[in-house]
C-alpha cells in the first residue's frame, strides 16, 4: 500500500464557512463539501490539536492536523539552562509520562560525561519508569472509552491513577512532574513502606484491569466501533516513523527496551505485545497488555532490587560534559523518545533535540482519516495516542 498524498500547505482551508463548490457532472443533486474545524477547543481532541476536515456528508475527504498551539520552545530553552534545570524542564511537555522524559535527559548527560550510575538507582529508575507507563496507559484506556461514549472507564482509570500517583508522591514528593532523576542517580532513596505499597498496588491494579476488559474489550458495541477502523499497515507505520504501542499494534515489535536495552531491561523478562491488523481495536488491546507487561517488570524489580547508594559518591559542582554529542533512545510510554545532545564543554548544552513519539503519531492522522466517517474520527484519534504538549514541545 502506498503512502497517500498529504494536502499541501497551499490547500489548507481557512476558517469555518469556507467550503469548496463541487459539482459532479451528471449528478442531479450537486453537493457541497463542508469544511469543519475540529479544535483547538473541542471535546474530542485532548489538548489543543486542531484538525481541519473537509467533509462529504459525514465522510471525511481530507484531514489536516494543525499543530503548534502549545509550542513552548523546549529545545531552545534548554540551550540556556544547565543540565540539572533541564531535568525539571523536560517533564513538562509530556505531562503524562514525566518520569520517562526526565530519565532520557539524565541518561544522555550521563553517557556524555561517562558517569557510572549506582546499581540501585538504575533499578529504581526502571521501577518508576514502568509505574509511569502504567499511569500513562491508564489515562488513554479511559479516555478512549470516553470518546466512544462509554464514560465509566474514564472514572475507573482515574481511580487507579489516583493510587499510583499517591505511590509516586511517596518517593518523589510530586504527583505529576516528578523531577526525581538527577544526573548520576536519583534525588533520594525510596521511602519506608514504598515497596510494600507498590506490591499491594500491583495486585490491586491487575485485578481491576478486569473491569476494563469487561467494559470495553469484551463489549460488542466497542468492537463494532473499533475493529477494522483506522487500519495502519506495519510498513506505512514504519515509513512515518511511528513507534510505541501504535507500531506494535501494526505487528512490528520494535521496542528499544528489547533492541537496545538501557537501565536493567536486559535483566528482566517481559514481552512486547503486538497486534495483528493494526486497527483501532488492536491499538487499544496492545495498550491494555502493555500495562500487564509493565506490572510484570515492576514485580521483578521488587524481587531484584539491590541495596546500596542511589547517587555516585562525588559529583562536580558544575556539570560540564566534554565536547561531543550523543543520541539516547528510550522507549517512553507513547513510543520512542530520542535525545540528541551536543555539548561544547559548557554548563549548558549547545543543542538538545528531542524526538518525541506524539509528533510522529499525529503525522499519521491524514493517512488514517482519509475516507472514514466522522464518528470514526473519534475512534481513530482516540487510538492514535498522543499528548499535545509532546507534539509541540
Amino acid at each position: 500500500m502506498s503512502v497517500t498524498e498529504l494536502p499541501t500547505a497551499g490547500m489548507l482551508p481557512g476558517g469555518p464557512g469556507e467550503g469548496v463548490q463541487v459539482v459532479i457532472a451528471g449528478d442531479e443533486f450537486p453537493t457541497q463539501e463542508m469544511t469543519l474545524s475540529i479544535g483547538p477547543q473541542h471535546p474530542s481532541t485532548h489538548g489543543v490539536l486542531r484538525v481541519v476536515l473537509t467533509l462529504d456528508g459525514e465522510r471525511i475527504d481530507t484531514a489536516t492536523p494543525v499543530i503548534g498551539y502549545m509550542h513552548r520552545a523546549f529545545d531552545k530553552l534548554s540551550e540556556v539552562r544547565d543540565y540539572r534545570q533541564i531535568i525539571a524542564l523536560s517533564n513538562r511537555h509530556d505531562w503524562l509520562s514525566a518520569f520517562g522524559n526526565e530519565l532520557g535527559v539524565a541518561l544522555a548527560t550521563e553517557r556524555l560525561m561517562g558517569l557510572e550510575v549506582p546499581e540501585r538507582a538504575q533499578w529504581i529508575r526502571m521501577l518508576m519508569a514502568e509505574w509511569n507507563r502504567v499511569l500513562n496507559h491508564l489515562m488513554f484506556l479511559g479516555s478512549f472509552g470516553l470518546e466512544l461514549g462509554a464514560m465509566t472507564p474514564m472514572f475507573y482509570a482515574f481511580r487507579e491513577r489516583e493510587d499510583i500517583q499517591t505511590l509516586m508522591e511517596m518517593a518523589t514528593g510530586a504527583r505529576m512532574h516528578f523531577t526525581y532523576c538527577r544526573v548520576g542517580g536519583l534525588k533520594e532513596d525510596l521511602p519506608k513502606g514504598f515497596l510494600l505499597y507498590s506490591e499491594v498496588l500491583v495486585k490491586r491494579i491487575r485485578h481491576r484491569l478486569l473491569d476494563y476488559a469487561g467494559l470495553l474489550l469484551g463489549n460488542e458495541i466497542f468492537k463494532k466501533r473499533t475493529v477494522g477502523i483506522g487500519v495502519l499497515p506495519g510498513e506505512v507505520a514504519k515509513s512515518y516513523g511511528v513507534t510505541g504501542p501504535i507500531l506494535h499494534a501494526s505487528g512490528v515489535a520494535e521496542d528499544s527496551r528489547k533492541t537496545e536495552p538501557y537501565l536493567k531491561y536486559s535483566e528482566v523478562e517481559f514481552e512486547v505485545p503486538v497486534g495483528e491488523h493494526g486497527d483501532s481495536f488492536d491499538r487499544f488491546n496492545v495498550l491494555y497488555h502493555r500495562i500487564e507487561e509493565s506490572l510484570k517488570i515492576i514485580e521483578q524489580v521488587h524481587d531484584k532490587l539491590p541495596p546500596g547508594p542511589v547517587m555516585p559518591g562525588k559529583m562536580p559542582k558544575y556539570l560540564k560534559p566534554p565536547e561531543g554529542w550523543t543520541y539516547v533512545r528510550t522507549e517512553n510510554s507513547l513510543g520512542e523518545t530520542g535525545y540528541y545532545l551536543v555539548s561544547r564543554g559548557e554548563t549548558t548544552p549547545w543543542r538538545l533535540k528531542m524526538r518525541t513519539p506524539s509528533f510522529h503519531n499525529v503525522s499519521m492522522i491524514p493517512y488514517l482519516l482519509k475516507g472514514v466517517l466522522l464518528p470514526d474520527l473519534i475512534a481513530v484519534l482516540g487510538s492514535v495516542f498522543f499528548v499535545v504538549g509532546d507534539v509541540d514541545r
Binding site: S44, E58, A150, M151, F155, R159, I221, F222, R225
Partner: protein
Amino acid sequence: MIFYHFFSNPWVVFALKLAAVFIFFLTAPLVLGYVEHKGLAHMQSRLGPMEAGKFHGWAQLIADGVKFIQKEDIIPDAADRHIFALAPMVVIIPVSLVFLVIPFGPASVSCHAPAGAGGCGFWGENFDVGIFFVLAISAISVIGMLMAGWSSANKFSLIGAIRGAAQLIAYELPLVLAASAVAMQAGTLSLVGIAAAQDSYWFVFPQIAGFIIFVIASLAELSRPPFDMPIADSEIIFGHMTEYTGIRFGLFLLSEYAGIVSLSAIAVVLYLGGWHGFLVPWIPGPIWTLAKIGALSFLVIWLRATYPRLREDQLQKMAWKYLIPIALVNILLTMIFKVAF
C-alpha cells in the same frame, strides 16, 4: 353539597387533572435526573452531588434549574432568531402532552365524574386512540430538533439535527409496529383499555420480542446511550443544542428526561401490566405504575454507564435489517394467535 357541586363541574375536574399532570411532568424528570446523577456516580466510584440541599445533594437539580434561568440567553448573530427561540418549545410541548393520556391507576368503581372530564381514574384523559395519539405526538419533537439544528447556523448543530432526524425515521417504524402488536392483542387502542386487558397476565410474556424492540427503539428515539449520536459530545459537541444557553438549554434537557419518563410509562402500560401488581396486591395501582416507570428509567441510566455509542450507519442497519423484520413477524404471529384462539 357545595363541595360536591364544585367537583361535578367538568372544567374544574379537568383543570385539576391538568395541574396534576403538569406537576408530574415537572417533578418526575427532576427526580430522574437526580437518580441519574447519583446512580451514575456510584457506578463509577464517585459521590456525585453532595452539597446542594445539605443531604446528599438532593436539591442539585433545583439549583441547576435556577442557574439556567439566571444565565444570559444568547442567540448567535447568524442564527434565525425566531426559529431558534421557538425550537425548545416545539421539542418540549409534545413530550408534556404525552403525560396527559398515561393511566396510572384503574378506573374507580363508583364513578361520579361528569361527562367530558375524561372518565374517572388516575389519568388525564382517556382517548379511544390513546396509543396512536402518544406515538404520533412524540414524533413531533424531531421537528424542534431540526429547527434548532438548522437555525443555529452551526455545522455541529446541523450534523446533529440531521442525525437525529435520520434516527427518528428509522426508529419510529419499529416502535409503532411493536406497539400495534400490543394493541392487536388487547383489542383496543385506548391506553386505559390496554392496561386493563393485562389483568391475568402482562403482555411482556407473549410479546417479549416486541418489548425488546420497543425498548431499543425508545432509546434510539430519546437519543440516549448507546444511541446518542445526535448529541455525541466527543464528535459534534452537543448536536442541535450546541448554541443554546440558559433556560432554552434547560428546556432541552428537561425534555430529554421527561422523554425518558414518558416512554418508560408507555412501555409500562403496553407491556408491564400498567397498574397491575404481583405478590403484594394491596399496594395501590399508582404506586405500582410509578415503581415500574422508575425501574425502566433506571435501566436507561444503567445502559449509559455501560455502553459506548454505536455509529449512525450501524444504527440504521440494525433498525432496517433486524428490528423492523422482527417486528413484522411479531405482528404476524400475534395475528395468527388472535384469530386461532
